[in-house]
């Protein structure tokens, strides 16, 4: 019994700096009042030396090696339990708290719910209560949590480079303000997003400085003025639309904030009462929307206009609509460039569903095309039905960024405030903003005040650099796409003492820098006009959004065509490409957007949904064009247009339009960021000019004889004739005719099927021996509906955030060692390996939790075994890493820690420094994101999807806590779900207790479409896939393509052969 002398350990500044109690986080009245209260309940507990709380999860490493022999006692490190001296209200150590908030974005705010552990936000999810998004959370929402903890975030106030105190800046700002006068020398460059409070402050400032210029710039925003009039935006109603024609509009991907996915998906469920909708897509590259299409046609982005006209002609012929006629006047004659019958039938379908159809034109298409789109909708009588208008006061750009550049040069501006954005990096190339700003600061003696998340390209050229607070650190408000009024509340005090945009604007408007929510509360009072403020306000914070009616800009406005624009719209559409000229399409990247998320490791490592490229961007090109130019993946090319040129590797993508290059923006950043700040991808902004913000017709492409290593997470996209086994697909009519058509396809055709009232239910499994009983009351299972999975990959990031999955860097991904527990397999499928017009099909792939799992029996140390509730569990601390289990897994879902991915840093260009000699340990902030309920795995152990076992255990425990001395410890149906299912924007993933008939998963599983992968192996997986159902138009030329790849092939045989050739849809 060893008596040990106790020494207080020195308190580490480091740890203290980040620690914020939940109470402090909203420095709220409650918190202060608590201080006076006499006997506050509660305490939060710090354990271990106070930097690394137990919940900060020291890596398993040493302690495990020791514990192996129960050695730890011999050299037991002295750990301390460090309770608060004063308890903190409603903080229970080790219990997560959930707060509703939202994330402003130029496409509309995202309603969110954030989980915080002991004051650390760790996980972001959608707000289930919100009527539009209904809890769906796109990739960018999921990944935002990592931005918060990005160690490379701007930490300091800087005056022309040198570090200063915030107070200095405040006084300097005061000085500056004196010189503003009427604001004639004052300019604000802001980002377009809606925030009532910001609008209020801007109004105040406009009053104070009437002459001040307000410019909003978004390199990836709409390029044309709104066609329904200033400040009016059109909102698609997918719940109403039966037939949708998307002209280069990726509403499931980058062109919407993501809220619409669920609305759309609801119409894609074959069993939906209203029946399935039908989606036609014309686009130059595969987008998520194109992947979901029933009929897709490859059209060069520059020809979308012409294509719209072709459709319009057909519609005009049918409807004789006057506006449409006006719009088409003088339009170029039909070139016959487009498959005539495709256009005809599509148009016919639109006309046939007048008032229930919907035509969407990509927001980046030129105005004329937008107008034609509007005219089409008008002609089809969709306005106000499937397309409703709403007023969005967000846009207050009086002067364009071009004009601003001119004024900077002319010296008419004295002080320029750049709030967010990054013009030096992404302003139109022809403005040469960098030198303009440099000159402005140096020669013109102007002052540039910059508020930004990172000290980036623009900061380097600014007089004042102000660190910007993350939305999770600030009070604020915003509006969702549908105009509903969302709250933004802080989860934690600014880690690096940053300011929010509101703080800065408030100062300029002459207020104090707000301490708490005052500003927003004022706005709230004005906007919502509540009877009882306190109640309304706390409800606002609790729900995360204000009840409909109140102040939210949801009141629909009349959508009317603008006659002025209408006339001659047809003339203005882009001309056809010259023979063997190329078009270049500059698109927003699915991951880093305009480049703002370049330093987010999760996003960099997340494979692009379509190309599966990670840690890079590339010029996407069609197979035939590639052959024509003699290009292979990774070959560097030089794309030049009007003396501007960039170098970039090409990547061949099936289904891409010919003579068209798609280049995602936002890469090739050149600031200090360690993840994506240097040497990741190629910057395409040099090609983005005022004239060519999106489309560049007639660019020249030159092949350089160099290669650039591109890394993909999926090397092989062809289905290899295994569609009948792996990816079962059919048409709606086929499904209606024979609902269980998907059961006995491929090898399962040979199996013996149990039937219930004439319908196949499941394969009869004959076994030599009786299996040990899985005798827990709960039995976990999952279903994945291939009909609604869009492949957005939100589940991958959600899983990464929930399960502490490390990123491994470009080099390691190149080796094929990425760690994602769930992946979205993307196949380009077609009957014959036709790479020009294939179907794009997604299949989320995760551990199938096989009841007789092949991985288990081969593990020599019993590190992976089965639990009574049907999980294939993995005990990391038992694993010795033989990798035998991974080899024997037919789905290859097991992931191995080839290196200590959690122990060493990712450095420039996403290179993981695995070498022993490289510095050890991760950033403190990065540790703060980790989920305390999941072990952080060490080098040399296998890991895989656990069905979020930490959530299962939590649910079980809370059920038991309630049960006390009763036996009612069964978890109620759908009490919780896995991270992937929770995140899925289209509810394609359902998880739950399959032994509970009430649970939604058991209901979905009952569907006749359900099938299991590789049934013939008899592994009895616990994941059921629901066959992909499409709703093609039988009259369309390409109707036969649907399900072609999964036609019961040679080995299929059986009675279903005949039936499965149906291609008919329901109309």
């Amino acid at each position: 019994m060893s008596k040990r002398v106790f020494f207080h350990p020195p308190e580490t500044e480091h740890g203290k700096k980040y620690w914020r109690s939940v109470g402090q986080l909203s420095d709220s009245p409650e918190f202060r009042s608590w201080l006076e209260r006499e006997f506050p309940q509660g305490a939060a507990e710090l354990e271990g030396s106070d930097v690394s709380r137990r919940n900060f999860l020291q890596l398993m490493g040493a302690s495990m090696a020791l514990a192996g022999l129960s050695f730890s006692g011999c050299r037991r490190p002295e750990k301390h339990l460090v309770p608060f001296s004063r308890g903190v209200e409603w903080a229970i150590p080790g219990k997560a708290l959930f707060f509703a908030t939202s994330m402003p974005s130029s496409k509309g705010g995202l309603p969110l719910v954030v989980a915080t552990h002991d004051g650390r936000p760790t996980k972001v999810d959608g707000n289930v209560m919100h009527p539009l998004s209904k809890g769906s959370s796109p990739v960018l929402a999921q990944s935002s949590i990592l931005d918060l903890y990005d160690p490379d975030r701007a930490r300091f106030f800087r005056n022309s480079g040198k570090q200063v105190e915030s107070s200095e800046f405040e006084s300097a700002l005061g000085e500056l303000a004196k010189g503003f006068g009427d604001g004639s020398g004052l300019a604000f460059l802001v980002e377009p997003y809606e925030s009532p409070t910001r609008e209020r402050l801007v109004a105040e400032i406009k009053e104070k400085y009437p002459k001040a210029r307000w410019i909003s710039y978004d390199p990836i925003g709409p390029v044309s003025a709104p066609v329904y009039g200033e400040g009016v935006s059109a909102l698609p109603k997918f719940d109403k639309a039966k037939v949708i024609l998307s002209l280069d509009h990726d509403f499931l991907g980058t062109d919407c904030a993501g809220d619409f996915a669920r609305q759309f998906a609801a119409q894609r469920k074959p069993d939906a009462k209203s029946g399935m909708n039908r989606l036609y897509v014309a686009e130059n590259r595969f987008t998520l929307t194109g992947g979901m299409a029933d009929h897709r046609i490859r059209v060069q982005a520059s020809q979308i206009g012409a294509f719209a006209i072709a459709i319009a002609r057909e519609v005009l012929a049918a409807t004789k609509d006057a506006n449409l006629a006006v719009a088409l006047e003088g339009a170029p004659a039909a070139s016959g460039a487009f498959q005539a019958d495709w256009v005809r039938e599509a148009a016919a379908d639109l006309v046939a569903t007048k008032g229930k159809s919907l035509v969407l034109v990509g927001p980046r298409q030129p105005q004329q095309v937008q107008v034609i789109g509007a005219a089409l909708n008008a002609a089809l009588g969709n306005l106000g039905k499937t397309l409703v208008g709403r007023r969005s006061p967000g846009a207050f750009g009086t002067v364009g960024i071009a004009a601003l550049a001119a004024e900077l040069a002319a010296g008419q501006v004295k002080a320029l405030f750049i709030l967010g954005g990054n013009p030096v990096y992404n302003a139109p190339a022809d403005l040469d903003w960098a030198s303009a700003q440099k000159a402005f600061c140096s020669d013109k003696g102007g002052v540039v005040v910059r508020l930004s998340h990172h000290e980036d390209e623009t900061s380097a050229l600014s007089t004042w650099q102000v660190p910007m607070a993350h939305p999770l650190e600030t009070w604020g408000d915003t509006r969702a796409m549908d105009g509903s009024y969302l709250s933004v509340q802080p989860m934690i005090l600014p880690l690096f003492g940053g300011w929010s945009e509101l703080d800065l604007l408030a100062k300029i408007a002459g207020h104090q820098k707000p301490e708490g929510p005052e500003l927003v509360q004022d706005t709230f009072k004005k906007v919502v006009k509540p009877q009882d403020f306190t109640v309304a306000w706390s409800k606002f914070l609790h729900d995360g959004f204000a009840p409909k009616s109140a102040g939210s800009q949801e009141a629909p406005v009349e959508l009317s065509l603008n006659a002025a624009l209408l006339a001659g719209a047809g003339k203005g559409v882009p001309a056809p490409l010259a023979q063997d000229a190329f078009e270049v399409v500059l698109v927003e990247d699915a991951k880093v957007q305009d480049g703002r998320h370049a330093n987010n490791g999760w996003l960099q490592e997340l494979p692009d949904p379509v190309t599966k490229l990670a840690w890079d961007n590339a010029a996407l090109i069609s197979p035939s064009s590639a052959k024509q130019l003699g290009l292979e993946n990774g070959d560097l090319i030089e794309v030049s247009f009007q003396k501007r040129s960039i170098q970039i590797p090409v990547f061949v993508v099936p289904g891409h339009a010919d003579r068209s290059l798609t280049i995602p923006l936002g890469y090739g950043r050149s600031f200090g960021g360690r993840i994506g700040g240097r040497g990741v991808g190629f910057n395409a902004y040099p090609l983005l000019t005022r004239e060519t913000p999106y489309l560049i017709s007639g660019a020249s492409v030159r092949r350089l004889n160099r290669k650039h290593p591109l890394v993909v997470t999926q090397e092989h996209g062809a289905i290899e004739g295994r569609g009948a086994d792996l990816l079962r697909e059919g048409t709606i009519s086929q499904y209606k005719e024979q609902p269980d058509f998907a059961k006995a396809m491929g090898l399962d055709a040979h199996a013996e099927w149990a039937e219930k009232n004439g319908k196949k239910t499941e394969v009869i499994n004959r076994s030599l021996y009786s299996h040990p009983p899985l005798n827990d009351v709960h039995q976990w299972g999952m279903t994945i509906d291939l009909s609604t999975c869009t492949g957005c990959s939100s589940c991958m990031v959600a899983c990464q955030a929930e399960n502490n999955i490390p990123i491994v860097g470009k080099e390691q991904v190149g080796f094929g060692r990425e760690m994602h527990w769930i992946r979205t397999d993307r196949y380009f499928a077609s009957e014959n390996d036709d790479v020009l017009e294939p179907e794009m099909i997604y299949q989320p792939m995760l551990c199938q939790h096989c009841e007789s799992a092949p991985c288990e029996t081969v593990c020599p140390v019993n590190a992976t075994v089965h639990s009574e509730d049907g999980l294939n569990v993995m005990a990391y601390n038992r694993c010795i890493g033989t990798r035998y289990c991974a080899n024997n897994c037919p789905f290859k879902v097991r992931r191995f820690n080839f290196f200590d991915y959690n122990q060493r840093k990712i450095q420039d260009g996403g290179l993981y420094e695995w070498n022993l000699l490289s510095s050890k340990g991760t950033e403190e902030t990065v540790k703060m994101q980790k989920n305390p309920n999941v072990t952080v795995r060490m080098r040399g152990v296998m890991e895989k999807c656990t069905f979020c076992v930490q959530r299962i255990q939590e649910a079980k425990v809370s059920a038991k806590v309630l049960a006390k001395d009763s036996n009612h410890f069964r978890i109620p149906a759908d009490k919780f779900t896995t991270a992937c299912a929770q995140a899925c924007p289209t509810e394609a993933i359902t998880f739950g207790d399959i032994s509970n008939p009430e649970s939604s998963v058991s209901k979905v599983r009952a569907s006749e479409r359900g099938y299991r992968l590789l049934e013939y192996l008899n592994v009895g997986s616990r994941v059921w896939y629901l066959a992909r159902i499409r709703n093609p138009n039988p009259k369309m030329p390409d109707a036969a393509k649907v399900g072609a790849h999964s036609k019961p092939s040679h080995h299929g045989g059986g009675h279903h052969e005949a039936k499965s050739h149906h291609t008919g849809g329901e109309a």
Binding site: Y769, H771, E851, T857, N862, V865, H866, E868, G1020
Partner: protein, 181 residues
């Protein structure tokens, strides 16, 4: 050599395996018991010639092997069936799944038998025995090369220094020598 030394026995050399065999038969017929032949390799028929039966080494090996099998059975069953049963690959623990353990049964059986063979051999041959009186006779070295020897110990009741010497010489043994202990 020093006279006061104790006598171990008398050794004689023969010049071929055949001669040795015949000599051994004679010695056997003379009812000598405490004697032995030393040869560079086992001579076929020598056991008979010396009146020795079949080696009984196999008995301990059998026992060893049996113990091995038993150990394996306990080692595999007791933990995975009783101490710590787990659900692995949906396979039950009952006699039907016994074959999964056969490899380990087999290996341990062989291992144990091999060890018992070697240890039994050492014990039965009383090896290692680094010191032995016959080594005092220098010529015996050839026994590991190409020499063939008979050594009759003095512990033998029929041993008499003179008679035995004559007897061996009579058998055609050369270099008949008195071996000191």
């Amino acid at each position: 050599m020093a006279e006061y030394k104790k006598v171990y026995g008398i050794g004689a050399e023969f010049n071929s395996a055949a001669d040795l065999l015949h000599a051994a038969e004679k010695v056997r017929d003379e009812k000598f018991t405490k004697w032995d032949v030393h040869t560079p390799f086992p001579i076929h028929g020598m056991d008979a010639a010396m009146g020795l039966g079949k080696s009984w080494l196999s008995t301990p090996v059998l026992i060893g092997g049996a113990i091995g099998t038993l150990t394996a059975a306990l080692l595999t069953f007791v933990p995975s069936w009783f101490i710590y049963p787990m659900i692995v690959h949906g396979k039950p623990f009952n006699w039907a799944t016994l074959p999964a353990f056969f490899p380990i049964f087999f290996e341990l059986t062989v291992l144990f038998s091999a060890f018992s063979t070697v240890f039994a051999l050492l014990i039965m041959n009383q090896l290692p025995k680094w010191y032995h009186p016959v080594f005092n006779w220098d010529r015996i070295k050839k026994a590991t090369d190409d020499g063939f020897f008979i050594v009759i110990e003095c512990r033998d009741p029929k041993f008499s220094e003179t008679k035995t010497r004559e007897f061996l010489e009579g058998l055609g043994g050369t270099n008949v020598t008195l071996i000191q202990d």
